[in-house]
């Protein structure tokens, strides 16, 4: 009984160190999406070119929705990756960009400078971003052909992520 007090050491140390250690290797800013398995939020927004687009129009093909901004530094590199994706499978999936907390002018300047020929939606006020649960650019959402959200990418897209996420969407679309 006298030596029970030595238990104090593991009782204090183990939970503390375990909790702190858990924090490594994960980004505290990343939150999981609430939309996984749920339908794409409906919207009716105008693109940079002035055309109107609704969520219903996008049904039928898998969709990659990318939230970005002209002031977002990692978005520049991501834009190149998206351009590449557009070339490789732009016919089989629809890529849609959404401008996050930015002005149309700055968006146009960015596209003029870095290219990109997929529709960019203007989201005044950020309602669509709120509906998706976006916390900051860049964030991307992978939606299947039936309009159900399947995956979220927090942070810039990479070739590896694209390959992993797009393949199942394309496979599912072929099966239909």
């Amino acid at each position: 009984m006298r030596h029970l007090r030595w238990l104090l050491i593991p009782i204090v140390l183990v939970p503390l160190v375990w909790v702190l250690n858990f924090g490594f290797g994960r980004d505290p800013a990343e939150i999981p999406s609430q939309l996984i398995g749920k339908p794409l939020p409906s919207f009716r927004l105008v693109t940079l070119d002035g055309q109107t687009m609704t969520a219903e129009q996008l049904r039928g093909k898998p969709i990659l929705i990318n939230f970005w901004a002209s002031w977002c530094a990692p978005c520049v590199a991501e834009h190149a990756i998206l351009s590449d994706a557009q070339r490789r499978y732009g016919d089989r999936i629809t890529i849609v960009g959404v401008l996050y907390q930015d002005t149309a002018d700055r968006g146009r300047t960015f596209v003029a400078r870095y290219g990109g020929d997929w529709p960019i939606l203007l989201d005044p006020g950020g309602t669509l971003a709120l509906d998706f649960g976006v916390t900051g650019p860049p964030e991307s959402y992978f939606v299947d052909a039936a309009g159900i959200v399947r995956a979220k990418q927090f942070g810039p897209l990479t070739d590896a992520v694209l390959a992993a996420r797009v393949a199942p969407l394309l496979a599912a679309a072929i099966d239909r």
């Binding site: 939150i31 950020g126 309602t127 709120l130 976006v134």
Partner: protein
Amino acid sequence: MRTLAVPVAAGATLALVALIGLTYLRPPGHPTQAELAHQIADELRCPDCQGLSVADSPSGSATEIRTQIDQLLARGLSADQVRSHFVDRYGEWILLAPRAPIAWLLPGVVVLLGLAALTAWIWRGATRPTPVIPAQQPSQADRERVREEAERLDA
């Protein structure tokens, strides 16, 4: 004066407690929509800030959330429904305070236990008889110290 002070103090405290009690026992008035909106905004976390509430944040997303709160309240949703609207999109993370009871109760319970344990320790110590310590002759060091202290008292 001194003898009056104690009853006056007691009376004043009682009156204050009564006043505060009456205030809180009055049926709660309905907060205005603006007040309710502000309250909800205080409880929501701004999505692209570092821990600020929607009420405090000047960012674009916070402004949009405040607008949405107003719209939802105008449509007749209750405060809980408005909160759920945002939890549906961001998860529990958007609430600045967790809903789990343990998060609210644990600190209070721990402190109460600590205070209770301390009170018990002190009370038990007070009721036990004080051990008699045999009188000691002051040591030379003690004498020196007393002399020093006495010498320091200024005229």
